[in-house]
């Protein structure tokens, strides 16, 4: 199709409700930029945080209306089928909004403590969240790439945010170089898939592959493999994980928590769409790749964490281990698998934000105090804070009565359902390895030795975040019914 110069450009119809979350988040980000430029005095942290929280709450309200809309008239696509509005995207968007809200509150107290001036943090966090939301809604490889880049660019700067620490800049550079490389791989993969199928639209790719036999699938396979590598880098799956411990350690701690939650949601949502929606017919081809990724990611993540003494590095490897579990749901490739993946990220995001909130507090002024020894006897000095940390660790370990157990349960069930008992067993045994360092940490919290350590100051907003994280972990750990139903319902409203 050629478009002659005289022909009017047809503007595709836009369903504004579908893109409202992205508009809100971007709008809030731009508003803050505008205010920073126009207002004579520096914008206070309180104002910037208030705008960010208002934006994320607004997104939550919008997701409610989106959900009602989908419930009534089913999943739909808009803007020339590039954006999709389905249950899956709505729930993932909600999770991003909640993560943004919680992470912003933590960052607020951090910014006050570290005397950070200006609204740059909030501006970048809002923009990155908009990118993550775009990834969950993308129905086109190009849109996914757009979302990925918006998300990543915001994060590159956020990681470097702590100008006083060299490690922060080092981490940012590392993340930027490797992330740029991964983006290039991703876009090259998109190009190859376009070459093989003639389109970048996920639905059309799926339709093309379902109705045609690809005689020379080399191009398609190469493209698909590169896309998977791109995603594997973003979610830090082994062997594409090498950046993650350094970046987690170097980034300011609230940024690490923010990253650990929203990047996982955005990247896994897009991952699910690409391999299950678009390349669902090629399942026999990509499954072995994911099989290997799951085994490597779970086992290596858990094992390498054993060697660490730095809280943030431990959590980095722990999140690698979790990424392996989430991949298990994608490996299954069924409704149950997608629902399991969704359930995992819903429950993992608040847990990890709350965990990093405590790490931020313990880190103290200068954000330097991250040795595991900083936690020695914490639960003896401050029982509530220590117990919260213990609950969050037990949840990540996968102990029953916490959401972590059901998260693992849901993806394991999906994998076993598809004949992956051996894979599920390997993953679960890696959780036993991981139990070692979670418990060692919990043991440190309850250590007898009364070390003369300063009391960890718990500001109100961060305290609230920890409380919410722990409450969600325990309440839905005892009664996972609502979240399980939500995840399943959302997946059944999946755009084909």
């Amino acid at each position: 199709m050629t478009v002659s110069a005289s022909a009017p450009i047809v503007i595709p119809s836009i369903h504004y409700l579908a893109i409202l979350p992205v508009i809100i988040l971007f709008g809030a980000s731009l508003l803050l930029v505008f205010l920073t430029a126009m207002v004579r005095t520096k914008i206070t942290q309180v104002a910037a945080t208030a705008v960010t929280c208002a934006a994320s709450l607004a997104v939550l309200v919008v997701t409610y209306f989106q959900w009602r809309c989908i419930d009534k008239s089913g999943a739909s696509t808009t803007i020339a089928h590039a954006i999709v509005l389905d249950g899956f995207s709505v729930v993932a968007t909600g999770v991003i909004a909640v993560s943004l809200l919680l992470a912003t509150l933590v960052a607020h107290d951090w910014a006050v403590r570290e005397r950070v001036q200006g609204a740059e943090y909030q501006i970048l966090a809002l923009a990155a969240s908009a990118g993550a939301v775009l990834m969950t809604q993308a129905n086109d490889l190009i849109v996914i790439f757009l979302g990925l880049e918006i998300l990543s660019l915001g994060l590159y700067v956020l990681v470097a945010f702590d100008r006083h620490r060299k490690t922060s800049a080092e981490a940012a550079l590392k993340y930027f170089l490797l992330g740029g490389f991964a983006s290039a791989i991703f876009i090259y993969g998109a190009a190859l898939v376009y070459g093989a199928t003639g389109t970048t639209n996920l639905t059309t790719i799926a339709y093309f592959l379902a109705s045609n036999v690809v005689l020379h699938p080399g191009l398609l396979y190469a493209g698909g493999a590169l896309l998977i590598v791109g995603f594997a880098f973003k979610v830090a799956a082994v062997p594409f994980h090498l950046w993650s411990p350094d970046v987690y350690e170097g980034a300011p701690t609230p940024v690490t928590g923010f990253m650990a939650s929203i990047v996982k949601v955005g990247a896994f949502a897009a991952f699910v769409r690409v391999v299950i929606s678009a390349l669902g017919t090629q399942m026999e081809t990509w499954r072995p790749i994911l099989w290997a990724l799951v085994v490597l990611t779970t086992v290596v993540g858990a094992s390498l964490a054993l060697l660490q003494r730095n809280a943030k590095r431990i959590l980095a490897y722990s999140s690698i281990n979790h990424a392996g579990f989430i991949l298990l749901g994608i490996w299954a490739g069924t409704v149950r698998g997608v629902a399991g993946t969704l359930f995992y990220v819903i429950t993992y995001a608040p847990t990890v934000v709350a965990t990093f909130a405590i790490v931020t507090l313990v880190g103290g002024l200068g954000d330097e105090n991250h040795s595991i020894d900083a936690y020695r006897g914490l639960a003896r000095r401050q029982p509530w804070l220590g117990a919260s940390m213990a609950v969050l660790l037990l949840s990540q370990l996968g102990a029953p009565l916490t959401t972590g157990f059901y998260a693992k349960y849901s993806v394991l069930a999906a994998a076993i359902d598809q004949g992956g008992s051996a894979l599920a067993l390997i993953a679960l045994l890696s959780a036993a390895i991981a139990a070692f360092f979670y418990l060692r940490w919990a043991m440190t919290l309850y250590a007898d030795e009364t070390v003369e350590a300063a009391r960890v100051v718990v500001p109100r907003a961060t305290g609230l975040v920890v409380g919410v994280g722990v409450a969600m972990t325990l309440v839905f750990g005892v009664w996972p019914g609502p979240l399980a139903t939500l995840a399943q319902h959302a997946t059944l409203l999946f755009n084909p």
């Binding site: 029953p400 157990f405 069930a413 076993i416 418990l439 996972p480 019914g481 399943q488």
Partner: protein
């Protein structure tokens, strides 16, 4: 059918007690009083359930107090409790253990937390025994690790951290196999029926499966239960953990949590995979017999009393496994009875060891000598418990071991014969230990230890009473166990021998 509220009360009362104890931390001794009171209420509920239990509710297969409430349909998660003659005595044992552990194993360091953990553990253990749904069972089974871990790590001996970690990781890894097995079974059942995902015990027991699937699943289940029990060769965590745990912790672990292993083996591994039994039986019986012999030998050379009980427990668990796996009704009844009896006997051992440790500051055999001179009551109770453990006629251990051996002999003679040597070996290691610790001339610190105080005597009384009563008049217990065992053996009969 009686109301399931009785069983729910068993779960809730200790949790309320734990909450009360945690919040009663301000006043000296208040937490302890609340904890003991809730354990006493628990015991009272246990007695009521014992009296109410009716094995002949129509259509309930000897289960009573049953209810089922689905919590999450997509996950197949349900609150489903029921009680039969087998779980009845596990419930009674749990109630007895917590009460006696609280009374006899009092630990005043950070007492509110200690008693809270103990009560939480009680609730979870009760949950595992009354669970009538595999997923629910697994959740409670796994949950018991958490309070145990904190009890050992918080109040244990010198190597407590190592012991707690080893215990947790060991059992956590083993139960990974169980979870995978349960999920596989539930999903296979769902594929067959096309209905909702469920893990209800009664429903899953009708899942059809191939011979090899049954063997795989049995193996997965058996690994988890063998590590918990412990059954040789998955016992290697137990000596260190029993030795390092505080007295109350050792009691909970060996008297109670070990039974989760053998109970699970009987109820779930044997009950759900009858197809596999013919093939796995020789292996399991052999492991049981090895456990008996190996445990007995190591008990002879154990250097401290806690390890001594750990190894003798390994031998006793071997007997239980022998009965559970034999496929004979008589031996299975004996095994259930021995689970209960061994629990009571072990409380006795660990309480006395705890009392000795309090007085002497050591439970090393080499440090102790001639204690029967200064402490005749302790020595006397130890003798009763020891003779029950050896299997002296007239005491509780005799009935159960006799039933196991005679039942096993009738169907699998050779294992019965080798197992019988275990009884002789038990006499050797127990009497030898008694000689070294209680006989001879007490000198120095050993001569100065006080005998059991009045309060300690009262704690030991119920143990002695139970040992004697169950030895002389086991009828009320056997009458309640038999119908349920009959039911279970009949269900697995095609591949088992009913005698």
């Amino acid at each position: 059918m009686h109301s399931s509220l009785w069983l729910s009360a068993l779960l809730v009362v200790p949790l309320l007690g734990a909450a009360g104890a945690a919040f009663g931390r301000s006043k000296q001794g208040l937490s302890y009083a609340i904890a003991v009171a809730s354990a006493a209420v628990e015991m009272a509920i246990g007695v009521v359930i014992f009296l109410l239990y009716n094995a002949h509710v129509a259509g309930a297969q000897t289960f009573d107090f049953a209810t089922r409430y689905v919590l999450s349909a997509p996950f197949g998660l349900a609150y489903d409790v029921a009680l039969d003659g087998i779980s009845l005595f596990m419930v009674e044992l749990t109630a007895i253990v917590v009460l006696l552990a609280l009374l006899g194993g009092r630990d005043k360091r950070r007492e509110p937390s200690f008693v809270s953990w103990l009560l939480i553990l009680t609730s979870f253990t009760m949950g595992s025994f009354v669970a009538h749904d595999l997923l629910e069972f697994f959740i409670f089974f796994e949950l018991t690790l958490v309070p145990c871990y904190f009890i050992i790590a918080g109040w244990g001996g010198r190597e407590k951290n190592k012991a707690a970690l080893k215990f947790f990781i060991y059992t956590f890894s083993a139960s990974a196999f169980l979870l995978i097995g349960i999920l596989y079974l539930g999903l296979a059942h769902q594929h067959q029926t096309g209905g909702a995902l469920t893990f209800a015990y009664g429903v899953l027991s009708s899942t059809s499966m191939t011979h090899s699937t049954a063997i795989w699943l049995f193996t997965a289940f058996a690994i988890a239960f063998a590590a918990k029990a412990p059954i040789w060769p998955l016992h290697t965590w137990s000596p260190l953990t029993y030795a390092e745990a505080p007295t109350a912790g050792s009691i909970e672990l060996s008297a109670l949590l070990a039974k989760l292993g053998s109970y699970g083996l009987l109820r779930f591994a044997v009950g759900l995979f009858p197809l596999a039994l013919a093939d796995v039986r020789p292996v399991m019986l052999t492991l049981a017999v090895i456990g008996i012999i190996y445990g007995s030998i190591l008990a002879c050379v154990a250097k401290d009393l806690k390890r001594f009980v750990a190894y003798s427990s390994l031998a006793q668990m071997g007997f239980i496994t022998l009965g559970v796996m034999s496929g004979s009704k008589i031996a299975t009844v004996g095994a259930v009875l021995l689970m209960f009896n061994h629990g009571i006997i072990t409380i006795g051992f660990f309480l006395i060891i705890g009392f000795i440790e309090q007085r002497r500051g050591s439970y090393q055999v080499a440090d102790l000598q001639g204690l029967q001179g200064p402490a005749p009551v302790l020595a006397g109770v130890f003798t009763v418990v020891m003779l029950a453990s050896i299997g002296l006629p007239g005491l509780s251990g005799f009935v159960s071991e006799y039933l196991i051996l005679i039942g096993t002999f009738a169907v699998h003679a050779w294992w019965g014969v080798v197992g019988a040597f275990g009884v002789v070996a038990a006499a050797v290691y127990l009497l030898w230990a008694y000689q070294r610790v209680f006989q001879g001339r007490a000198v120095g610190a050993n001569a100065a230890i006080p005998d059991a105080s009045t309060k300690e005597r009262w704690v030991l009384v119920p143990i002695v009473v139970l040992i004697v009563v169950l030895g002389v008049f086991p009828r009320p217990v056997l009458d309640r166990i038999s119908p349920s065992v009959q039911q279970l053996i009949e269900h697995v009969a095609p591949s088992g021998v009913t005698k």
